[in-house]
């Protein structure tokens, strides 16, 4: 630990805790997950930054969306995102979650992930190198430090709009709303 970070630790320990202990969800959406095993094992060792794969979404606070998002996966992604305790951060990995990538005219994938859940940062490329995950993590540190990584607050505030979009893509949702929604019949 740096000596000049001691003041930051004393000022807001929670924020520093969130920075240096990012536990990622084990969730493979697409081909991008192939870059994650080298990142967490001996070659690129993400644990030295405190990044660790968590066995359950309840333990985690970082959600990596690795690769294209099919409509069926979107359901699982929304479920997993809502299971994670706040504060939580989402990073889109690869060009597919950004704008559809090479699946831009597919009948079965969604094109813009941030219509459905809030995304704090993107890693562009097809495929991004494993080092890009570290660059993303250090950028996320800066965002957390400045208080700009507040996707989860955005989700809470604009939940109605997000849920509307989710229903548009998936049809009727089987689970009750996470936050209170105004009834349409009123």
């Amino acid at each position: 630990m740096d000596r000049n970070q001691v003041k930051k630790w004393l000022e807001s320990p929670a924020k520093m805790g969130h920075k240096y202990s990012l536990w990622a969800v084990y969730f493979c959406t697409g081909c991008g997950i192939i870059e994650v095993p080298p990142v967490i094992t001996s070659r690129w060792d993400a644990e030295r930054f405190g990044v660790l794969p968590a066995p359950s979404p309840r333990h985690a606070n970082l959600f990596l969306i690795t690769g294209y998002v099919s409509v069926k996966t979107l359901k699982a992604i929304i479920n997993t995102y809502e299971l994670m305790p706040e504060p939580k951060y989402t990073v889109g990995f690869g060009s597919c979650p950004i704008n559809g990538g090479m699946y831009w005219d597919s009948y079965n994938t969604i094109k813009h992930l941030d219509k459905y859940i809030p995304v704090d940062g993107w890693i562009a490329g097809c495929m991004p190198r494993p080092e890009a995950i570290f660059i993303a993590v250090t950028h996320l540190w800066t965002l957390i430090d400045k208080g700009m990584a507040k996707g989860y607050i955005k989700y809470r505030e604009n939940y109605e709009r997000y849920r509307e979009n989710q229903e548009k893509a998936l049809g009727r949702l089987e689970w009750p709303p996470l936050f209170p929604v105004k009834d349409e019949n009123e």
Binding site: M16, G17, S42, P55, S56, R58
Partner: protein, 301 residues
């Protein structure tokens, strides 16, 4: 004056256990990283994780879910007061080994109660595995404790520690076989590989801990750190002769490092393989040792 010292000891021994336990968790991750040729996290990474987990919002699944984890943590904290930590034993005159045998079951039962509140199927699998594993290692453990108690003719753990002063350790006495058996069940008691079946992260998403988020997981981690301390401390007290605070901690470190090496090289057992192993070699060895001790006692009158 004696009362003041006792009160200070009651405050100090859980604190020592907490600090050493959390330090061991950090050392565990660092050593595993170095064995795998990685750089590894900083030594205080468990503290950072705890700070993060305490500041997160946890989910509750009802009153039993909340109470179970508190029972488990409280049972572990009470257990520490019965264990001599380098000559510091706050509740030395009560019960001794028998109390330790009973109170050791509090932590798994608390976690099992807590899991009853959650609805995740992984919880029930994890709890059933944990209880089967406990049942498996308690059998040789009872034999070991009986052999110790009949050899030293005492149920007080402090007397057993004092009898081993000046390098007359139980490990190098007629109790040698019991010590070997205890070392064989030590990984099962610590829950490390090859016996990490109860909390297998890749198989059943960490078992009973799967629904814990935020401060619940933080309490579970603290409980884990304390349990790690207790089991190693018990081995050091019973077989390696305790000692003052410094030698005690050094002996604990030696046992712990051996445990990490075992964790690093072995794969995971299935539950029936674990039970088969624990009810075969350690049970036979500890039973032979128990009979041997009884024969010695009978010969000496």
């Amino acid at each position: 004056m004696v009362t003041t010292i006792k009160v200070l000891e009651i405050i100090a021994s859980p604190l020592v256990a907490l600090i050493i336990g959390i330090l061991f968790l950090g050392l565990f991750r660092k050593m595993m990283a170095r064995i795998q040729w990685r750089y590894g996290p900083p030594l205080i990474q468990p503290v950072i994780d705890l700070v993060r987990l305490f500041s997160q919002r946890g989910f509750s699944h009802g009153a039993i879910f909340d109470m179970g984890i508190i029972i488990s943590l409280a049972g572990t904290l009470v257990l520490i007061l019965f264990i001599p930590i380098g000559g510091m034993c706050p509740l030395e005159s009560t019960g001794g080994l028998l109390v330790i045998l009973y109170v050791m079951l509090f932590a798994p039962i608390g976690i099992a109660l807590s899991g009853g509140g959650g609805v995740n199927p992984n919880i029930s699998i994890g709890i059933s595995r944990k209880l089967i594993l406990t049942l498996s290692y308690e059998v040789p453990f009872i034999f070991i404790i009986l052999a110790l108690m009949s050899y030293y003719r005492s149920i007080s753990i402090v007397e057993i520690v004092n009898a081993q002063a000046h390098f007359r350790w139980s490990l190098f006495s007629p109790l040698f076989l019991s010590g070997v058996a205890y070392f064989m069940i030590l990984p099962a008691m610590l829950g490390i590989r090859p016996f990490d079946i109860a909390g297998a992260p890749q198989e059943i998403s960490s078992g009973a801990y799967v629904e814990y988020g935020g401060k619940y997981l933080a309490f579970a981690k603290i409980e884990h750190a304390l349990a790690l301390f207790i089991i190693i401390a018990l081995f050091v007290n019973l077989f390696l002769g305790g000692g003052n605070l410094l030698t005690f901690l050094l002996k604990m470190l030696a046992v712990f490092v051996t445990g990490v090496f075992i964790h690093a090289v072995f794969p995971r057992f299935r539950i029936e393989q674990a039970t088969k192993y624990l009810w075969f070699w350690p049970t036979i060895i500890s039973f032979i040792s128990l009979i041997f001790i009884q024969l010695i006692r009978w010969q000496n009158g």
